[in-house]
C-alpha cells in the first residue's frame, strides 16, 4: 500500500518536474536570446579546450601513459555531465541567490518538495550544446581508442555517464547549500568546485598522492571521469575504482538531502 503511494508521489513529482521545465523554456522564449551566438561561443570555447590538449600532444606522445584520444574521453565525460547539469538541473546553481533574496520563501509555502523546486529554478540551453559536443567527442574517441564493445560494456558506459552526472549535481548542490550558513551574498564555493574539474581532465596518476586522495575521495572528481574511462579502456591502474562509484553516488545523494534539511532548519529568511 505504501509502495503504491510512493509510486504515485514519484509520478506526480516527475510530472511537476516536466511542467516546471516547460515553463522555464517558455520564460526563456520571452527574451531575445541569441541562440546561434551561444552555439558559436560554446563550440569555440570547447574547441579551444580540446585544441590545448591537442597542442600539448603535438609535442609529446603521451601523458602519464594516456594517449590523446584517451584524454579526450576523460574530457567527454566531464563535458557531458556539465551540460547535463546546465540543461536539467541548472537550478542547483541558484540556491545561493534564492537564499539571499529570500526567494526560498515562495518555494516553502507550496506543497512540493523544496529540492524539486530548486532544481527546476532555472534552465540553461547551453547545456544542450555541451551534451552534443561531448557526445561527439565520446563517439570519435571510442572509435579511435578501438574499444571492444559488448552489451555489458555498453550498459556500464551508460551507467557511468549517469553516475558522473549524479555526482556532479551533488557536488554543486552541497557546495551551494553551504550558503545557508554563510553571511555574504556570494558563495564562491560552487565555482571553486567547478574549477577543480580541470583536474579531472587528466589521469589521476600524474598528481602527487595528496591530490590523488583529495580528488579520489574528498571531492570525488576521479569518479566522474578517471575511473569510468579507465575501466572502459581496460587500464590496469584504475583497478576496481569503477565499482565503488554507485556507493559514492548514494552517499552523495544522501549528503545532499541532509545538507538541504539542515540548511532549511537554519534558514533565516532575510527581509530584503
Amino acid at each position: 500500500m505504501k509502495g503504491l503511494e510512493g509510486m504515485k508521489k514519484c509520478r506526480k513529482y516527475i510530472r511537476l518536474y516536466i511542467l516546471f521545465q516547460i515553463q522555464n523554456i517558455k520564460s526563456l522564449a520571452q527574451y531575445r536570446t541569441d541562440f546561434l551566438m551561444m552555439v558559436f561561443f560554446t563550440l569555440f570555447s570547447q574547441g579551444c579546450n580540446l585544441g590545448l590538449i591537442g597542442i600539448i600532444y603535438s609535442n609529446i606522445p603521451e601523458v602519464g601513459g594516456w594517449t590523446m584520444w584517451e584524454i579526450f574521453l576523460l574530457y567527454g565525460f566531464l563535458l557531458f555531465s556539465e551540460g547535463f547539469i546546465n540543461f536539467f538541473f541548472q537550478g542547483a546553481w541558484k540556491i545561493t541567490n534564492m537564499i539571499h533574496m529570500a526567494e526560498l520563501d515562495r518555494f516553502l509555502v507550496r506543497p512540493v518538495p523544496v529540492g524539486l523546486q530548486l532544481l527546476t529554478a532555472k534552465i540553461d540551453f547551453d547545456g544542450l550544446n555541451k551534451m552534443v559536443i561531448a557526445a561527439a567527442v565520446l563517439i570519435v574517441g571510442f572509435i579511435r581508442c578501438e574499444v571492444r564493445w559488448n552489451p555489458v560494456k555498453v550498459i556500464l558506459f551508460l551507467l557511468f555517464l549517469l553516475e558522473a552526472c549524479v555526482i556532479r549535481v551533488c557536488m554543486i548542490w552541497i557546495a551551494s547549500c553551504v550558503s545557508f550558513w554563510m553571511e555574504g551574498k556570494k558563495n564562491s564555493l560552487n565555482y571553486f568546485v567547478i574549477s577543480l574539474g580541470e583536474m579531472a581532465k587528466y589521469p589521476l596518476i600524474i598528481y602527487p598522492p595528496v591530490f590523488q586522495g583529495i580528488f579520489g575521495y574528498l571531492i570525488p572528481y576521479a569518479f566522474v571521469s578517471y575511473y569510468p574511462v579507465g575501466y572502459l579502456l581496460g587500464k590496469a591502474e584504475t583497478g576496481a575504482g569503477a565499482f565503488i562509484i554507485p556507493f559514492f553516488c548514494i552517499a552523495m545523494l544522501a549528503a545532499s538531502c541532509l545538507m538541504l534539511r539542515a540548511g532549511l532548519r537554519n534558514y533565516e529568511s532575510s527581509n530584503y
Binding site: 597542442i55 600539448i56 603535438s58 571553486f192 598528481y207
Partner: protein
C-alpha cells in the same frame, strides 16, 4: 588628472569590494596552472626536452604565466552589459570625461589590488619552487614594463569586446569567449612556441601574445635582450592599433544606445 586619480582609487576600492569574484577567478586560473604544472612534470619525467623547453624553464613559465594572466583578470564586459540593459550607461556618458579613460583608470586601480595579491602568492610559490638563481635585475625591470604594456593590450581587447555588448544581450557569452580567446592565444596555458606550424605563425600576427607570452619570455630568459626590446615595441604598436580600433568601433556602438531608449 585629479578626477582620474579619483577613478584609480574607486577602482581599487571596487577591487577590494569584489574580492570574492577576483579570488574565485584567480583560484580557477591557479588550479589550471597547478594542473598544467603536473601535466608537464609527468611529461618531463619521460623526456628531457620538449620543443626546446627543459623542465627548469617550463616550471618557471607556468607560474610567471599565471601571474601575468591574473593581473587584471576581472573583466568589465558584464558590468558594462548590465549598465546598458538598465540604461545606467547614459549616466556614465554624461560625465565630463572620456568613457574609455574612466574605464582604464578604474582598471588600473583594480589591477593594483590584484597585482598585490597575486604577486605575494606567486612570488612566494615561485621562490619556493625555483629559488633565486634565475632572477636578474635588468630582466626584472623589462618584465615589469612588459607586464604593464600587456595590461594595456588586454584592456584594449576587453574594451572592444565590451562594445559588442551593445549588440547582443549574451554578455556572459561575450565575456567567456574573450576569456578563452585571450587564455588560449596569449600563451597563458602553454608557451606559444609549442604551437604547431600554421598556428604558430598565426599567433605571431595576433595581439594576444603581448598579454602573457611576451612578459613571460622576458622574465625567464627565452628572449635575448634585443628580442625583449623589439617585442616590447611590438606591444606598444598593438596598443596603438587596438585603441584606434576601439575609437572607431566605439563611435558606432554608442550610436546604438538610442535604440534602447535610455
Amino acid at each position: 588628472m585629479k578626477k582620474y586619480l579619483a577613478y584609480i582609487r574607486c577602482g581599487f576600492l571596487e577591487g577590494c569590494a569584489y574580492r570574492s569574484t577576483f579570488i574565485t577567478g584567480m583560484l580557477a586560473n591557479f588550479i589550471q596552472a597547478v594542473v598544467l604544472y603536473y601535466v608537464w612534470k609527468s611529461i618531463f619525467a619521460y623526456q628531457e626536452i620538449v620543443n626546446g623547453y627543459t623542465w627548469e624553464i617550463m616550471r618557471q613559465y607556468v607560474f610567471v604565466a599565471f601571474l601575468c594572466n591574473s593581473v587584471f583578470s576581472m573583466g568589465f564586459e558584464m558590468n558594462i552589459a548590465e549598465r546598458i540593459v538598465k540604461g545606467d550607461i547614459i549616466l556614465d556618458l554624461l560625465k565630463p570625461l572620456s568613457y574609455r579613460g574612466m574605464l582604464f583608470f578604474r582598471m588600473l586601480g583594480t589591477a593594483g589590488m590584484e597585482f598585490a595579491v597575486t604577486f605575494l602568492l606567486i612570488g612566494s610559490i615561485y621562490l619556493a619552487v625555483n629559488g633565486t638563481r634565475y632572477l636578474s635585475g635588468i630582466r626584472a625591470i623589462l618584465f615589469l614594463i612588459s607586464l604593464f604594456l600587456g595590461m594595456g593590450v588586454k584592456f584594449c581587447i576587453q574594451y572592444l569586446f565590451s562594445l559588442l555588448c551593445f549588440y547582443t544581450d549574451n554578455s556572459y557569452g561575450v565575456t567567456k569567449a574573450r576569456e578563452i580567446l585571450t587564455n588560449f592565444f596569449s600563451g597563458a596555458l602553454i608557451p606559444l612556441s609549442m604551437f604547431p606550424g600554421v598556428l604558430r605563425e598565426l599567433v605571431r600576427y595576433l595581439p594576444f601574445q603581448g598579454i602573457v607570452y611576451t612578459p613571460c619570455c622576458v622574465f625567464i630568459g627565452t628572449f635575448s635582450i634585443e628580442e625583449c626590446v623589439s617585442q616590447i615595441l611590438l606591444q606598444i604598436v598593438w596598443i596603438l592599433l587596438l585603441s584606434l580600433a576601439g575609437t572607431l568601433f566605439g563611435k558606432k556602438a554608442f550610436g546604438v544606445i538610442s535604440m534602447y531608449g535610455g
